[in-house]
């Protein structure tokens, strides 16, 4: 039985204008699990994910990470352990390698080392068909989305917050990503919380499904998507 990694206790969140987004949510996320948060567009899935890396601060309640309140951690510790991958795959100027290696220059990630060998392995696995020296501006949206995911995976965070990571991908590439995420989770390498409004294809043995609706998070038996 894996131990509890993230405990969400009675959390509420409202925007600065007072509009409530979530109210009194409780959730227990075990280490090495995959949690799928689904819901219509605009229900606050991205906002929910951003509570874990402290892009947003809770209005009420608390989140415990390794049994310690998230607020007690240094912000750099949180960002290096809990990585949020935004839906828009932003690329910086330069080649694919520049895009994969730049986070390693940040002070918070300084003890991690960029590995071109690993980067090439990921490029091959996701069948991107581009080399590390390929100009990033010439990548398609689907390729960018996969490069952005590789960038996050190379940093080897404990928790990966994925915001619609397959939205620009065809079914074959989506499947490749889903298989990789599933195997990483099964191996205990990472814990994943993934927001999606489309159908996903994960085995139910590793996956917990939740529906975000009217500010409440409801556990579901399985997930068939919300009409991608």
């Amino acid at each position: 039985m894996s131990s509890s990694l993230l405990k969400i206790q009675n959390i509420s969140f409202s925007y600065p204008d007072g509009k409530p987004v979530f109210e009194r949510i409780d959730l227990d996320i075990k280490e090495g699990t995959l949690s799928i948060i689904s819901g219509e567009s605009g229900t606050g899935k991205s906002t929910f994910l951003k509570l874990f890396n402290r892009f947003h601060d809770l209005t009420n309640g608390k989140i415990l990470f390794h049994e310690r309140e998230l607020r007690e951690y240094q912000i750099s510790e949180i960002r290096r352990s809990i990585l949020y991958l935004p839906q828009l795959p932003h690329m910086i100027e330069g080649c694919v390698e520049d895009n994969l290696s730049f986070p390693f220059t940040f002070q918070a990630q300084k003890d991690k080392k960029y590995s071109p060998v690993k980067a090439r392995e990921w490029l091959d696995y996701f069948q991107l068909g581009v080399s590390l020296s390929h100009e990033a501006s010439k990548l398609s949206v689907g390729q960018r989305q996969r490069i952005a995911l590789i960038r996050a995976l190379l940093l080897e965070p404990e928790v990966l917050l994925l915001d619609e990571p397959c939205s620009a991908l065809d079914s074959r590439n989506r499947r490749l990503i889903e298989q990789k995420i599933e195997s990483l989770v099964k191996s205990g390498a990472v814990t994943v919380i993934m927001a999606t409004h489309g159908a996903v294809n994960f085995s139910e043995s590793v996956c917990a499904f939740f529906q975000l609706e009217d500010g409440q998070l409801k556990a579901m038996q399985s997930h068939s998507g919300q009409g991608a």
Partner: protein, 259 residues
Amino acid sequence: MQSEIINISWLNVTITTLLIIATGLCSLYLKLKLEKDLLIGTIRTFLQLLLLGYVLNAVFSLRNPLIVFLLFSFMIFFAARIISGRVSEKRIPYFAPVLASMFLSYIVINLFVMTVIIQVKPWYQPVYFIPIGGMIIGNSMNAIAISINTWFNGLRKEYDRIELFLALGASPSESTKENFKGAVKSGMIPSINALMSVGIVSIPGMMTGQMLAGIDPLIAIKYQIVIMLLLVGSTALSSIFALHIVRKISFTPNYQLKI
């Protein structure tokens, strides 16, 4: 060459308004609707400069360091007000920090010029302190306004990129390194351009004024060189200082972008 200064009579000063009347007629003819602004602007020019003349006369004759300091502070406060009028940012309260940074950098720079370069005794001699301080404020005020505007526009334009950098572990300064450089540069460009063109495209105002007052052009040139270099330095120092503070207040302590 020290010539006697010609004092323009008030009648002749008033005659210059003929040019404004001519401009007003052009405006009427071309339907530019500038007549009202021209009239108000002309009256304000007369009143504001007359007031300035009397204030300077009093300050110059009093030679009181406290009064010099108060007048200088008043000038800085109004410069900060002008900056806040030009910068459209509403969410981040930058006025007080920018005012404080302007105040500190201008005092340091002006003291340096007074005591080290010109070696005025006493250092607060208003006839030097106020006009040179005014030039420093006027020039770097524009630079700060341009820099801050460029900074905030950059944050909005690059919101997604900055948020991505923060998510990947960057600190606010790491995620906005290029924005910061771009903002400083954009504020600096006018003063660097002025360095390039001074004496070729235009004879600077201070030098013109000194020469009209009968000062030897070679002395006026020395003053002008000091002023030109001083303006570049003060522009850089004050805008970098102000931007540092603005960058700090653009993020929460938890590295969240406030915009």
